[in-house]
Symmetry: C2
Amino acid sequence: MSKKPSLYTCLSPALLHLYDITDTVVVVIDVLRATSTIATALYNGARQIIPVDSVERCIQYGREIDCITAGERDGQIAPGLQYGNSSFEYPREFVQGRTLVLTTTNGTKLLHMALNRGAREIITGAFLNLSAVCDHLVAQKKNVILGCAGWKDRVNLEDTLFAGAVVSRIREHFHVNCDASGMARNLYELAQDDLFGFMQHNEASHYHRLMGFGLERDIRHCLTPDLANILPYYQDARLVPFAG
Amino acid sequence: MSKKPSLYTCLSPALLHLYDITDTVVVVIDVLRATSTIATALYNGARQIIPVDSVERCIQYGREIDCITAGERDGQIAPGLQYGNSSFEYPREFVQGRTLVLTTTNGTKLLHMALNRGAREIITGAFLNLSAVCDHLVAQKKNVILGCAGWKDRVNLEDTLFAGAVVSRIREHFHVNCDASGMARNLYELAQDDLFGFMQHNEASHYHRLMGFGLERDIRHCLTPDLANILPYYQDARLVPFAG
């Protein structure tokens, strides 16, 4: 019998150093809303997404190449950029064949941390591409870290729930000796019949922040499985659909 | 109407820097088993507990003053020390009136971190003294951080469940804008009818480690509310029963 690969859940970027990620597939999770936007744009035909870690660098790209510059700071479109972090801003007729340069508060940061720490492979996950993520992880048979982007290094509910959804679906294929994975799974299984209601009735700070911006439709969309079921794969400093 | 104080849950010592703790009561939580042992020893009449951060320092105290030296490393009695980290080692006939010098893997470390970061007040919490902790926090009307000691900076289930028990009981008295608190509360409310069974059937790495040492009776004891319902309070480099 072959040994199962390991699966860990890292609830905050500030805990990533506790895990050896060198031979590992890292799933970057930023449900509200970076990795939801990434899945949507690629699903709708964007050629590639370049994640960058500052607004300045995003603006610079906009001057140098033909691209859409987008990003948020504290949940709103960053000054100097054209677009924000809502899936609804990236329909097929707008993004098909184009390059999106994206900077976000938490997701981009975690992606670069995973890169710098030598992850074998980086993909991004959100409810919108839940099945694609799960199918890939099961097929790869490599060690996995589910990396929650959180909010300024604090743990957040929505990323934890997504990690829990993945654990719930694929744990039979992995060796899971990780309390955070069990916690995430239990929370997801408790919430799965009404993810929006669970966010609403619990302490979910970023949910409440976005609701304050009038983004209920956006949040509901981001909590719906498989509406943009594609696998964003990090390669040569950009995210592209996984080609197998 | 007066503003309610805030309540946050910090799931790992490696996240403590994210919180301003200067005007805050920090509850140090290390259910398996440092803070359970602390509650038990004080409940059974120990005069004081001196938490130290190394085995060497613990041994040194043993040479210099009349005390019981105790502590664990990786869940077992540390070489050179007399006693371990089981509540059952500290009955009244043994500890009454005595000084216990204690070093543990995770709990002592978090306590010193809270101290160095300028916490206003430090107390310790475990299921064994759940009510004493809750009553104190409600009475104090100060900002609260529930600090989980975890396991080598990783999140663990038992400390999270205890934090959730506290949140569940006292949240009406606080302003809780903290996803980790909501997660902990939901997990506790899911588990509360059978905490031992919940630990058993979930990924709970330290539970399984201690079970491997034959410590089921110890774990069951540590998951029982209010068996040693006293409030350990940090003052002048030692823990003593809170005097009001």
